[in-house]
Amino acid sequence: MRKLWKNRPLLIAWIAIVLLIVLAAFTAFARGTAPVDGLFRNASAPVIEALHRAQTQVQAFFVRVFDPSGVQAENDRLKTQVLEQQQQLALLDETERENARLTELLNFVQANPNMRYVSASVIGRDSNPYLDTVMLNAGTRSGVTEKMAVLTADGIVGRVSEVGPNWCRVRTMCNDEMRISVMVQRTRDEGMLGGLYEEDGILIGLKLYYLPNNADIQVGDVIRTSGIGGFFPKGLYAGTVLSVNEDGKGNYDAIVSLDVDFLHFENALVVVGTDEAVE
């Protein structure tokens, strides 16, 4: 055999080729049942698994070394994907918030069906920290005129002070000169609401004054518009009494909460008319 291997290697090669083809055919046509194939493959399975693990590590190494552009490209692609998904999440979050705001406004409209509104979005704010005025994207084309009341679901925003074809400027309740006629819902005592009340530079609320002598007013009383003056329809929520002062002569004044978030509100309703006569 040794002599044959040395002198006639090709003969051995051809015999081996024939045998190997038979083996290949055997494993192909009797896959899974060929005992030789099964024996070898079962025995080699742990080796294959170990080598496969090693190969994964080696492959990762080669990819890093020889294909840095591929890794970089993959990295860039994933970063872009993350950014896109973050933007989509932000949009979704924004949509949800807008939906909540509009739902609040819709609820308000449904609760006050006697008024006609134009909805508008805030398109500009004052740089003043107390936000004297805001600009909305509704104007004369939508039926908005000067001195109309502007509301949110949280309360009164202010009054239209300037108007253009597709915009208007609203003087908010934060303006120290704004005054509206209101009443205490529980007692129907009327007064004037306006002017900022601050403590240590912090805005607390609005001043309520010109209440009648010996008025019955308590902390927690709800203040609503009285309709006097004609600019604000009667019955709009204006705030809640935070504190009451009495000067010792039976004259009362109070501090009323400012519930509208003037720094952050984004949608508002302009009251363009009422179905009932409002004084």
Partner: protein
């Protein structure tokens, strides 16, 4: 004996490359067979017996690790070694001729694997496969034969000296 110290690591690396690394790195199916190239390199530079041993053991191990048909690669590699040896046994080949012979041997080997796969029901466009994957793979394999033959040459002999 010294020959074995080179042959065994080269064959082992070729088996690992063919079985584990290259199947995952191949591009469009282009994948040179290192075991085949090593077997041809050994057959061309040392003894044909070395080539037969590498083809047989390397092919069987490659089949065991990475191929569905046990023995097919070994048979195909052996065919290539026999064909190459048939070309070079009479005349000492120049470098370019060795390259051509290696290419023919690799082609025969690849044809055998392709034919067997088709008989067993593999479905692919032969022409497309030949042009996009097989031909580039064959050229790479043939090119690999030369450096592997140089690595496997016996100490003190020229790379392609006759045995």
């Amino acid at each position: 004996m010294k020959r074995l110290w080179v042959m065994i690591p080269v064959a082992a690396i070729a088996i690992l490359l063919d079985s584990f690394l290259l199947p995952n790195l191949s591009h469009n199916g282009i994948r040179p067979l290192f075991v085949l190239a090593a077997a041809l390199g050994a057959a061309a530079s040392t003894k044909v017996q070395d080539g037969i041993v590498i083809a047989l053991i390397g092919g069987l191990l490659t089949d065991l690790f990475a191929n569905p048909y046990l023995g097919l690669s070994a048979a195909a590699y052996l065919v290539a070694v026999v064909i190459l040896y048939g070309f070079i046994r009479k005349n000492r080949p120049k470098l370019l001729m060795l390259l051509v012979f290696a290419l023919v041997a690799c082609t025969a080997s690849e044809a055998m694997i392709l034919g067997f796969s088709l008989i067993l029901g593999a479905r692919f466009s032969i022409l497309n496969r030949l042009l996009t994957a097989t031909l580039p793979s064959l050229i790479l394999e043939a090119l690999l034969v030369l450096p592997l033959a140089a690595i496997l040459k016996p100490a003190g002999k020229g790379t392609f000296d006759r045995r």
